[in-house]
């Protein structure tokens, strides 16, 4: 359950890090603090945290690059950026990297706690797969494993972010039927996030790169003008 969830706080500011760890422990979480990118890597290898709170500016690396590594190494972890960089471009970049949320400093601890609970709940929902989605399913040219958050295409294995998984699962659950863009937003993004059309389109573009057999007209994830998207084929392996 979320109250005993394992969290990893990656924060280089001594006071912010120490106070966050104390307060999150008081709230019932198991918390590890990493003050650098190197320590964060070691921590997620040994603990596989359920949620990572990640600062963007770190003394030995950039949080955005670290997020990509985290996604590949521990795809099931929820990811929340916690940063003083609050400009919209960076926020969009963070969310495109697969972050589940993006919290700008300074924040209220109660608000952070609520966001953590929401992210953990969504991660848990993603982990609970219906029977037809278990194991490996073939979507277009990709072999997708929703349990492992991975897809194999063209001889390469790709890590899927939580949002990519959520979007693909939603489309797969309605194979042959159009899914509206609003429904995709509601299922994959929280009420506190405000993705632009560019964000949603980028997710679809990335998914198409994985599943479409060729670069021409999309055959597997088709755009339905004025409605949304339609997945044409899913087969169990």
């Amino acid at each position: 359950m979320s109250a005993a969830a394992q969290l990893l706080v990656v924060e280089d500011d001594r006071n912010v890090g120490a106070t966050l760890v104390e307060r999150l422990r008081d709230a019932g979480y198991r918390v590890t603090l990493a003050e650098s990118a190197a320590r964060a890597r070691a921590a997620w290898r040994s603990q596989a945290p359920q949620l990572v709170l990640l600062d963007v500016g770190l003394p030995d690396g950039n949080g955005f690059e670290l997020a990509a590594e985290l996604r590949a190494a521990v795809p099931q972890s929820a990811l929340v950026f916690l940063t003083a960089h609050g400009n919209p471009d960076q926020r969009v970049r963070g969310l495109e990297l697969g972050a589940d949320d993006y919290v700008t400093k300074p924040f209220h601890f109660r608000e952070l706690l609520l966001r953590i609970q929401n992210c953990l709940k969504r991660a848990q929902d993603l982990a609970e797969l219906p029977g037809e989605m278990r194991g490996v399913v073939r979507i277009g040219r990709a072999r997708v494993d929703f349990e492992r958050f991975s897809a194999e295409a063209g001889g390469q294995v790709h890590a899927l972010t939580h949002k990519e998984c959520a979007v693909l699962r939603l489309l797969a659950s309605r194979v042959g039927k159009a899914v509206s863009r609003d429904e995709i937003l509601d299922r994959a993004w929280s009420a506190d996030e405000f993705p632009t059309s560019r964000t949603v389109d980028n997710f679809i573009v990335r998914l198409r790169r994985l599943v479409e057999p060729g670069p021409g007209e999309p055959q597997v994830i088709r755009s339905i003008r004025g409605v949304g998207y339609l997945l044409t084929e899913v087969t169990r392996e």
């Binding site: 006071n15 500016g57 924040f107």
Partner: protein, 324 residues
């Protein structure tokens, strides 16, 4: 809850502005070229008419031809000068635009860095205060609150000093004896870092007072110590300050035993330059250098991975007796 995705890019203004500037500049050059060409054509036409009139009034052919040659040479000369001036003005405008763009980018980077430097201690203060408001009563929370308040204060002071120095604000010319003064200042600054800085000060006994603004000198030392505390990567950084006379100058050598950086000396004191490390606004070392230059001295920085950070400050020695 149903929501529509936001429309359009979030940062279209700079691209629009750049496009507008390019269009206006092109229109301006086109307009000036058309006017210039029109002016040349008009003058040439008038010169031809004058020559024709002179021919009609009975002037000799050779005289008319000479007059025409002279007029044509003058028009060609004026046109060349006009075009050169036009090119020079265009180049000047382009240079001014480039300089302004660079300055704007620098300011943007500075505000981003300062915002970061203010938001981080504010976050910490809020977390501490919320914990206290919810009943936590611990000396550790109060200590962190005080430390974060000092960080905020220091950042605000640096920003204000930068604005003052960049605006040409004056500095006092004082005779400052480093003997005694340096040790007192460094001890007070190190104490503010709560045991994370251990300082050693050594001043040559017969070192004459240096020519400096005491407040600026205080800020220089504080920025150096803060820089070490922030970037050393150690729980407790050792800093040493040794002042001695070298020729007509007084040299203050500052060192720390931190992890160092591979950034070059000029890069270390560059305004808004923040290197690979995440912290800092890129103002501290720039202010050290700018203040030293304004006081008639100089500051050189060097660092290497595993070899800490070193600053060499050169002061003019004062001929006056120290201020009481």
């Amino acid at each position: 809850m149903n929501r529509k995705a936001g429309e359009g890019s979030l940062s279209v203004m700079p691209a629009r502005r750049a496009r507008l500037v390019a269009i206006l500049a092109s229109l301006w050059i086109l307009l000036v070229m058309v006017l210039g060409a029109g002016w040349v054509a008009l003058v040439m036409s008038q010169a031809r008419q004058i020559s024709a009139l002179q021919a009609l009034t009975g002037s000799a052919d050779t005289q008319v031809a000479a007059q025409w040659d002279s007029t044509r040479r003058r028009i060609v000369g004026e046109s060349v000068v006009f075009l050169l001036l036009l090119l020079a003005v265009t180049a000047l405008l382009a240079w001014l635009y480039w300089r302004e763009s660079r300055r704007a980018r620098g300011m943007q980077a500075f505000f981003a860095a300062v915002t970061h430097e203010l938001r981080t201690p504010l976050t910490s203060i809020r977390l501490q205060a919320e914990a206290i408001a919810e009943g936590e009563q611990r000396a550790e929370l109060a200590r962190r609150l005080l430390e974060d308040s000092s960080r905020l204060e220091s950042q605000i002071e640096k920003t204000l000093e930068l604005a003052r120095i960049e605006g040409g604000g004056p500095l006092a010319e004082q005779s400052v004896p480093l003997q005694g003064w340096l040790e007192r200042s460094v001890s007070a600054i190190a104490a503010g870092h709560g045991g994370r800085v251990a300082a050693r000060v050594q001043v040559e006994e017969d070192l004459p007072p240096v020519l400096a603004d005491a407040t600026a000198l205080q800020m220089i030392v504080r920025n150096l110590v803060e820089n070490s505390a922030r970037h050393a990567g150690l729980p407790c950084v050792q800093v040493s300050l040794a002042a001695r006379r070298v020729g007509a100058e007084a040299v203050l050598e500052y060192r720390d035993d931190g992890q160092g950086t591979d950034a070059q000396g000029r890069e270390l004191g560059r305004l808004f330059g923040r290197g690979a490390a995440s912290g800092g606004s890129g103002v501290g070392l720039y202010l050290v250098r700018a203040l030293m230059v304004r006081m008639g001295g100089s500051a050189d920085f060097s660092s290497a991975p595993g070899q800490g950070f070193k600053a060499l400050l050169r002061f003019q020695c004062s001929r006056e007796e120290p201020a009481a």
